[in-house]
């Protein structure tokens, strides 16, 4: 029944395009909203019976197997929440009805790709869905067809192509040895031929391909340009879930259930994670553009996730999964706010803003919450995930990494405080006196995401017991 998340939207898009134009344009928004809401609810309720048993024939439409476990479930919630936010923001920022309809079509396609990535259980279908997601994001980045968007999309396309080549080569090599492409079969084969030169080579290529997709330092070149060039609703989607589903989630999944946590892989992941944290944070400190700063901050936060996952312990993976969720929420929230600023101030250059808090109280307040969560201030959600990651590092004896991870939190706070001071506090620059709060769509989305951040932090024991503890069963 898992394929319901793929098939319903897929046939939905086809159906929408067959309807008369004016009906379709009106229905598209509600259809997309219903799909994303259903995705969130199904993942939260998470009836194992629903995913596996009912309507086996429905699943057999695809000649491939889908399944939803506790890690996929967390990711599905993120995809649903962020896509929904992106949809609502698009509704209030893309005014042309025709453009909006196109956007919704591609947004749904992108979400099909991402949902597929998190539910597949064989490496080739994984590749197919990665391409679906990547293709739709190229189009989305270049959606406005302006020079910056096209350039950003082009860079992403090129780097993505490199990643694809690396991964396809790797899959081809792995298939030399394995009868089929299922994760479990591959896992056994790799475990058998551990230490084999060519298999290790393939593993290395695959991991590097995913590093490019995830935008980790030093594979990150495309990321700031793409995030900055993309229209507001697209950067929400890209930063919130797209690169996470394509790169980070896939890396966690592949390493955990196919390659296995061997010491060299763990060390590589932790080192790359640490470099990303530091370079991302220091680079963010020096940015003057709001969106570009958020992009570097994304790199830094993704570093935390890889650092946690690289420990290879339950606690580290739980921390990484929870940080994945938190990052999707607070970074989504900050990009929603950047959309509000872009719409109202007309630029994302921070040097031209100031004192906006009094003019845009909701935007100001929610961005404070997001930034505190990102910096790991208790009791917000970001604190708990960072805490889990730091504890996991400490437990396996990487004291230096743990210490740097904590100190880098202060850097996070530093660049966000700089942002707050530049944008929201202080004096209004001349010319912005008549500024008004952004529309309801934007402020409601921002408030809802802020509530999720605060709620997830306060209800951490519940989340730990119901969402993170089950991770133990799949990996250990």
């Amino acid at each position: 029944m898992s394929s319901v998340l793929i098939l319903v939207p897929l046939f939905g898009i086809i159906g929408l395009n067959m309807l008369p134009r004016n009906v379709a344009r009106r229905a598209a928004f509600w259809f997309a909203a219903a799909v994303f809401t259903a995705e969130i609810l199904l993942a939260i309720v998470h009836q194992p019976a629903f995913w596996t048993e009912a309507l086996v024939r429905f699943d057999s439409f695809f000649r491939l197997k889908f399944s939803v476990d506790s890690l996929s479930r967390i990711m599905l919630i993120c995809i649903g929440v962020v896509s929904l936010s992106s949809l609502v923001v698009a509704k209030s920022t893309v005014s042309d009805e025709k453009e909006a309809f196109k956007f919704i079509n591609i947004l749904i396609t992108a979400s099909i790709g991402m949902s597929g990535i998190v539910m597949v259980k064989d490496i080739f279908s994984l590749y197919v869905f990665l391409e679906i997601a990547a293709l739709s994001s190229f189009i989305l980045i270049a959606f406005n067809k302006d020079i910056n968007g096209l350039e950003g999309a082009f860079k992403y396309l090129i780097l993505s192509a490199v990643a694809t080549v690396l991964m396809l080569t790797s899959i081809a090599i792995l298939l030399l040895d394995s009868p089929d492409t299922a994760f479990s079969t591959l896992h056994n084969e790799i475990a058998h031929s551990r230490g084999n030169f060519i298999v290790t080579f393939a593993i290395g290529l695959f991991i590097c391909g995913l590093f490019i997709k995830g935008g980790l330092v030093p594979f990150h070149g495309w990321l700031p340009d793409a995030y900055m060039a993309a229209p507001a609703p697209v950067s929400i989607l890209l930063a919130g879930v797209m690169t996470k589903a394509c790169g980070i989630y896939t890396l966690m999944r592949i390493v955990a259930s196919v390659f296995g946590f061997t010491d060299p892989i763990k060390n590589t992941m932790m080192l790359i994670g640490m470099i990303s944290i530091l370079v991302g944070a220091f680079a963010a400190l020096g940015q003057t553009n709001f969106k570009r700063m958020l992009a570097y901050s994304s790199i830094s936060q993704v570093g935390y996730i890889i650092l946690g996952a690289g420990t290879g312990t339950f606690l580290g993976l739980a921390g990484a999964a929870f940080h994945l969720f938190n990052h999707a929420i607070f970074k989504g929230l900050l990009f929603v706010n950047s959309a509000a600023l872009e719409e109202k101030v007309g630029t994302s250059d921070m040097s031209r803003m100031g004192g906006l808090s009094e003019r845009m109280p909701v935007t100001g307040a929610t961005s404070v919450i997001a930034m505190l969560s990102a910096s790991g201030v208790p009791p917000l959600a970001g604190f708990w995930s960072k805490l889990l990651i730091v504890i996991a590092l400490w437990q396996i004896g990487h004291y230096a990494y743990a210490a740097i991870a904590i100190l880098a939190s202060v850097l996070t706070l530093a660049y966000f405080l700089y942002m707050q001071r530049q944008v929201f506090f202080g004096k209004l620059p001349p010319g912005l006196e008549g500024l008004r709060e952004a529309g309801n769509g934007l402020t409601l989305t921002a408030s809802a995401l802020a509530v999720i951040t605060v709620g997830a932090g306060l209800a951490f024991p519940y989340i730990y017991n119901h969402f993170l503890l089950p991770l133990k069963e799949i990996f250990f």
Binding site: G204, G221, N267, P461
Partner: protein, 609 residues
């Protein structure tokens, strides 16, 4: 809803009601407070000696909100609830004209709820929660004394907070090495167990107000409103501290007679008795004198429990309930004097006994009780403690006996200076206190007589069940003291104190100066001087050490500042420049960078093959 939640919820709920009432609704406020403290007392008596266990899932990680009522906790709860009601009644008159009356009642109710919670808790973590929260109400209550009380409140907060920190570490060690946070682990005292015992003991005796954690009590006696002093250091904190000390010694650890912790406790107890009573002797203020006795009497309890022999523990616990009764009542008489005569300075008081006969009678009864005169309750509990102390070593017995000599001497002085003698000409028309203040005093004084004359009642029903049949081995400790000779010696010592007083009065011609010959004795006078200058206050000594630490910390802080203000700013500038150069928008650079790193990573992975 379980019955056991009520002792926590009733006072909290009424505290919220009182908080919501307007400041002017005095009658309504008094009614609500009195009714709820009365309900709390009634509930505690109804629950007395029942066995109830109730448990709710709490924060997760296996910690439960688990409450347990059994003979000991019901005993402490009933005692505390009774004091709570009596003090509320007393305060309705005492604080009537004060503007802090509302805050005081709110704190009082919350403190009662927290105390009930702490006593009922069935695991250490839950108890720690309530225990720590009491620190906040204590701070708030001392702060009611006005601007000057701030220093004292901070002092109390720092001392109790630091010792609570020790206790917290102790709880962590205890839970870590015995595997659970339950009270009944019977952990051995070797190694980490010993450390845990000492840390937990520090928390318990600091709460009770034993030396060396005492120095805030005399300050609070002056600065804080009197009902606060009567309630917290006078009664509730003693009950709670000694309760926990007993739980540590009896349930949590396998502490045996002759173990080193036993000696540690007895030494702490003896020192507390002696030093505090010597300080009490020379005080010239009614309340301050009492406050040193509040410290000194704790010594008897710690000594009694520290003997780890049944008679000593029974004596210690009996002394705990007796002391909280007469000490509370003594403070209340002090409050009555303060309110009616306008001062507690013994140099200005005198001859008010005839004008405040009921207050004087209550003072007389409780002063005789605290001095250990038969047949009042203090006599019997002290005899039991003597008996236990003598069994463990004559030196401890001697310390207790000397302590009781000076106790008697200082109360003779206090009574003489305040109630007898010539009245000051400014205070000719002092009147008796209002009945709301007299009723609590009279009730407690009567209870002191009852617990003495008919001591079978408290010992059989309240105290011996705590130890259990196994420990008592069939002994019963009520009735006349088992050791007749010790009783004779005690009476002789009391007579000596009386003679000493007469000698002093003859020599100086004044009740207040009756002990000056002790004050001016060689060696002692120097100790007194040092104490007067605050050199011997552990708090001040601790502050000195803290100063050194703070200098070191400021150097460390400068290093951290340098890291963030200089190092990270420079690094950020460097990296931003570098990334700008690499981030030149040219995708060829990105590809080259990515491929180069890919080669490095693949080589790294292959190296391990």
């Amino acid at each position: 809803m379980n019955m056991l939640l009520l002792p926590i919820l009733i006072p909290i709920a009424s505290a919220i009601i009182v908080l919501l009432l307007p400041k002017s609704a005095k009658l309504l406020r008094d009614t609500v407070t009195l009714l709820s403290t009365f309900a709390n007392a009634l509930l505690a008596i109804m629950l007395f000696n029942k066995e109830i266990l109730v448990s709710y899932p709490w924060v997760g990680f296996g910690f439960e909100f688990s409450l347990r009522l059994y003979n000991f906790s019901s005993f402490i709860m009933a005692a505390a609830a009774s004091f709570g009601f009596l003090i509320a009644l007393y305060s309705s008159a005492f604080t009537a004209a004060k503007n802090y009356s509302k805050s005081f009642f709110v704190y009082l109710l919350i403190s009662l709820a927290l105390l009930n919670g702490a006593v009922l808790s069935n695991n250490l973590l839950l108890m720690l929660f309530f225990w720590e929260a009491l620190l906040i109400t204590q701070f708030g209550m001392i702060m009611l004394g006005g601007r000057l009380a701030f220093r004292t409140a901070t002092k109390a907060f720092v001392i109790i907070g630091a010792s609570d920190l020790c206790m917290m570490v102790g709880i962590a060690i205890y839970g870590f090495s015995s595997g659970s946070f339950a009270f009944s682990n019977n952990m051995p005292l070797a190694g980490l167990g010993g450390l845990a015992f000492v840390l937990l003991m520090i928390g318990a005796i600091a709460k009770a107000g034993s030396m060396p954690f005492h120095s805030w009590i005399p300050d609070a006696a002056i600065d804080a409103p009197l009902p606060v002093v009567a309630m917290l250091p006078g009664a509730l904190e003693k009950l709670l501290g000694i309760y926990f000390l007993t739980r540590i010694s009896l349930d949590m650890f396998r502490a045996e007679t002759g173990s080193w912790v036993s000696y540690l406790l007895m030494i702490v107890g003896s020192i507390t008795i002696l030093f505090a009573v010597m300080m009490a002797l020379v005080q010239k203020d009614y309340k301050r004198l009492l406050s040193y006795h509040a410290i000194s009497q704790i010594g008897y309890m710690v000594l009694g429990i520290g003997t780890f022999v049944p008679v000593g523990i029974v004596g210690g616990l009996f002394h705990m309930i007796n002391n909280s009764m007469y000490k509370c009542c003594l403070f209340l008489t002090g409050g009555a004097v303060e309110k009616q005569a306008g001062t507690t300075n013994l140099e200005k008081l005198g001859g008010i006994g005839s004008k405040m006969p009921v207050t004087f009678a209550c003072f007389l009864v409780t002063a005789l009780a605290i001095s250990g005169v038969p047949p009042f309750n203090g006599f019997f509990s002290k005899e039991l403690v003597y008996d236990g102390a003598l069994e463990r070593g004559w030196i401890f017995y001697l310390a207790a006996l000397v302590g009781s000599f000076f106790t008697a001497a200082s109360f003779l002085k206090l009574g003489h200076a305040a109630y007898l003698g010539k009245a000051d000409k400014d205070r000719k028309d002092v009147k008796e206190a209002p009945y709301q203040m007299l009723i609590p005093m009279v009730l407690i004084a009567l209870a002191c007589i009852l617990f003495g004359v008919y001591n079978k009642l408290p010992i059989k029903f309240l105290i011996q069940p705590v130890l259990g049949v196994d420990r008592l081995r069939g002994h019963n400790y009520w009735g006349f003291p088992p050791n007749f000779i010790l009783a004779i010696i005690s009476v002789v010592v009391l007579a000596g104190a009386f003679l000493n007083h007469i000698y002093g009065v003859k020599k100086t011609g004044s009740g207040l100066k009756a002990v000056d010959h002790i004050y001016h004795a060689p060696v002692l006078s120097e100790i007194y001087d040092a104490q007067a200058k605050g050199y011997l206050d552990p708090y001040n000594i601790g502050l000195g050490f803290l100063n050194i630490f703070s200098i070191a910390a400021s150097w460390f802080d400068k290093a951290v500042d340098w890291f963030y203000n200089v190092f990270s700013v420079k690094t950020a500038a460097l990296l931003t420049n570098a990334s700008r150069r690499l981030q030149n928008g040219n995708y060829k650079t990105y590809i080259i960078l990515s491929m180069a790193t890919t080669v490095l990573i693949v080589l790294f992975l292959l190296r391990s093959v």
